[in-house]
């Protein structure tokens, strides 16, 4: 009797195991929340029947030969809802078209094999600094389609050229013109504003003013010490965040020239006054008592940012996504996000903010570049701007976008963007691509040694010497390649 029951139970268990194997075969339904898709990617067929009323209205939109579009979306902090909504609207406006969206938090890794197989999507939203290196590689391999014609064309919903809708200066940055030849390969998507953050509530209570110059910044160290907190912290094991100080400080010290030399591997840059002045700031942070929060160098970004929010440091570097990113993190009583940009060197100069641009690309080997370009133009319509604010809680790099989406973004983010619009000077920049096949990862070379500087195991002079050699190597490699 006993063994019979045991056998039945064993059989049932086995059957359950076998059946559960088939659970993975069920087709995935469309899930709008971004938390679900963190293992496998979904290739969605977002196919819509056009309502009859639309058909009569849209007779003035272009007709396309190839009506199928494959788009690949990086599903990060901004989610995928914007793209789903935009695609729906697009398919309504352009009857008969079909947009297939692949969205994934690990999009880079996901589309890499497709890229290798030559089966590229028609349209990609993925940043050049994505850890998978896909976009970096495509740029290095000259595998992107030129988009200058898109920006020289008329906007879909107003009487203006698209390039005039984009915020000034953005299209000239290395994000959009990676080869420095004036030809646009990356289309600006969202932009973020980066710089120093402080606890607004704490500052108001104590009567402190956010620093407008570096002298004012270091003067606050005294007050910080009295209040039992360090002056500054940053995301220790990711010293790349320090670019949010580096680039604006260089701009303040030496203007666009200095920034261009920094990002373009200028000869003698590291012995220039601008470089020296900027490195002084880091030296002061490293060597002044109480300036750098204890343990900073070993902290990851979440830990460092949380310490700042708990009042262990007066300032932290980060971007306009800060409040959204840390919404569940513990913080000191009454903490309020305040954005201070980056101080200037000279009294009276404007405070500066680093601006980063997210990018959209069309691969050179896209199967349907025509429709992809039309879709790109569609992103920049008022509808696109509004949807982006509503669904992605983000701001497109387009004039007037900030106010158009004010209701959708966090108050601190809104203040960041408005600060840039009202006096804070935006500086944009990213390193020029190194020679293809170069073993140098330039942002590692530039920023990783800051851990040693902050540990006082390397002086800024030694650092500058080292960097001069690295820059020379980059220049030599680029020259050998014919650049």
């Amino acid at each position: 009797m006993r063994s019979k029951i045991a056998r039945i139970i064993a059989l049932v268990c086995m059957l359950t195991l076998v059946v559960s194997l088939f659970a993975g075969c069920s087709s995935k339904k469309e899930q709008p929340s971004s938390e679900d898709t963190n293992t496998t990617g979904d290739t969605e067929q977002v196919d819509k029947e056009k309502p009859d009323e639309q058909a009569e209205k849209e007779s003035d939109t272009k007709e396309f030969e190839n009506k199928e579009l494959d788009i690949a979306i990086f599903q990060g902090a901004y989610g995928r809802e914007f793209w789903d909504a935009l695609a729906e609207k697009f398919m309504e406006k352009y009857p008969g078209t079909k947009i297939n969206i692949t969205a994934n938090p690990k999009l880079g890794d996901m589309i890499k094999p497709k890229v290798v197989a030559g089966n590229l999507p028609d349209f990609i939203y993925l940043n050049v600094d994505d850890p998978s290196g896909v976009i970096k590689g495509l740029i290095k391999d000259n595998a992107l389609m030129e988009l200058t014609d898109v920006f020289n064309s008329k906007a879909l919903d107003k009487d203006a050229l698209i390039k005039d809708l984009i915020l000034p200066g953005f299209l000239d940055t290395v994000f959009c013109t990676p080869y420095g030849d004036g030809k646009i390969y990356g289309a600006p998507y969202n932009y973020g504003v980066m710089g120093l953050w402080y606890n607004k509530n704490y500052f108001d209570k104590k009567g402190y003013k956010p620093p407008k110059t570096w002298d004012e910044f270091f003067a606050l160290n005294e007050s910080a010490k009295k209040d039992g907190r360090a002056l500054f912290t940053y995301q220790g094991i990711y010293p790349g965040y320090l670019e949010e100080i580096m680039i604006p400080a260089l701009y303040s010290a030496g203007g666009q020239e200095a920034v261009d030399a920094f990002l373009g591997y200028g000869e003698g840059f590291w012995s220039s006054d601008a470089a020296k002045k900027t490195l002084e700031v880091f030296k002061k942070i490293a060597t002044t008592d109480n300036a750098l929060m204890k343990g900073t160098v070993a902290l990851n970004h979440t830990q460092a940012q949380t310490e700042f929010m708990q009042g262990k440091a007066m300032f932290c570097v980060n971007g306009s996504w800060f409040e959204g990113e840390m919404q569940d993190a513990p913080r000191e009583e009454g903490f309020e996000f305040g954005f201070a940009g980056v101080p200037a060197f000279n009294e009276g100069d404007p405070v500066i903010a680093l601006v980063g641009i997210e990018q959209m690309y069309i691969p050179a080997k896209a199967k349907n570049p025509e429709l992809a370009k039309e879709f790109l133009k569609f992103v920049y319509t008022d509808e696109g701007i509004r949807l982006n604010g509503e669904k992605a809680k983000a701001v497109l790099a387009v004039k007037g976008a900030v106010d158009a989406v004010k209701e959708y973004i966090t108050p601190s983010a809104y203040n960041c963007y408005k600060a840039v619009e009202s006096g804070m000077h935006p500086v944009v920049g990213s390193f020029k691509p190194v020679a293809s096949g170069s073993k140098i990862n330039i942002s590692d070379e530039v920023y990783k040694p800051f851990s040693s500087i902050m540990n006082r195991q390397m002086t800024v002079e030694e650092y500058a010497e080292k960097m001069e050699k690295v820059y020379k190597q980059v220049r030599d490699e680029l020259a050998a390649q014919g650049n």
Binding site: G133, D141, A298, L299, K439, D444, S452
Partner: protein, 294 residues
């Protein structure tokens, strides 16, 4: 004659699926690694250029490669012996029958080895946390305050990572040794007891020699384990920092693979492969003579 052909055909048919999978997922990628290491390849499918041994030449001039090599060697040197000794010791202790609740301890010691490496890395990041970590609080009791955080100081970071790796692996090998010890007949120990052998003598003269076959195998496993697992531990806990002082061979490889230098990364893999093989062969030779059959 017919029968043996049929039988062989049947055997071949049974082996075929595994052989296919093996070739596709192990043999082919391995050959590909060696092939790609001879090319300048971005890894994204565009025009790989044959450059012969250039990648290797560049690697031997790359100072970060040497840092990574040194660190990986450090981890091997500081974690292999302690892990296996601790595992052996606890295995013997828990199977001696003299410890109460030995099953409980076995579970507790084994537990870390089933945790995901990311979880372990984050856990130990907090243990080593400069202001609120266990280590900091512990040292605080003695009034010791560290100037630089453990994971942010180039002199302590590798030691800290080594401890994490020992903690993770000891339980796994302990369970293996316990299984091995269980297969040693009790009578040998009883005979030794009667002859007046102390526990320590029993351990070194009976347990270790009889377990020697298993110990040799675990040495090869752990060499592999150190190289492979160091990747996650370093990447999550320190990201190679401070300033690349905790880079290991696999993180070095990974950073180049995602920087569109697949050919160079594969060259690093080739080197890791060769080092792995040499270490395994050497350790096999060195431990070959002491095997005892009973």
């Amino acid at each position: 004659m017919k029968k043996s052909i049929r039988r062989n055909a049947f055997i071949a048919f049974c082996i075929l699926p595994s052989l296919l999978l093996f070739s596709l997922f192990i043999v082919y990628p391995t050959i590909n690694v060696f092939k790609t290491s001879l090319y300048q390849d971005s890894g994204l499918g565009n025009k790989a250029i044959f450059i012969g041994l250039e990648n290797f030449k560049a690697m031997f001039k790359d100072e970060v490669f040497y840092i990574a090599l040194k660190n990986t060697g450090f981890l091997a040197a500081t974690t292999i012996a302690p892990t296996l000794l601790i595992a052996l010791f606890f295995a013997a202790l828990l199977t001696s029958g003299k410890i109460r609740y030995s099953n409980f301890f076995r579970t507790v010691f084994f537990f870390p080895s089933i945790l995901s490496f990311v979880v372990i890395s984050i856990l130990w990041s907090f243990i080593y946390h400069p202001t609120m970590g266990l280590v900091d609080s512990f040292l605080g009791i003695f009034g010791v305050e560290l100037e630089l955080p453990l994971l942010g100081n180039k002199y302590t970071v590798m030691w800290a990572l080594a401890i994490t790796m020992i903690w993770q692996a000891a339980g796994y090998y302990m369970v293996m040794y316990m299984a091995g010890i269980d297969s040693i007949s009790r009578e040998i120990y009883e005979a030794a007891e009667i002859d007046g052998a102390s526990s320590s003598q029993q351990f070194w003269r009976i347990t270790v020699p009889l377990l020697w076959g298993i110990i040799r195998t675990t040495i090869i496993f752990i060499i592999n384990g150190v190289i492979t697992n160091s990747f996650t531990i370093v990447r999550v806990m320190t990201n190679g920092g401070p300033d690349r002082d905790s880079e290991v061979l696999l993180t070095f490889m990974y950073n180049h693979a995602v920087n569109a230098n697949m050919g160079y990364a594969m060259a690093v893999v080739v080197v890791v492969f060769i080092i792995s093989i040499i270490l395994s062969v050497v350790s096999n030779r060195l431990t070959g003579e002491h095997a005892v059959e009973m």
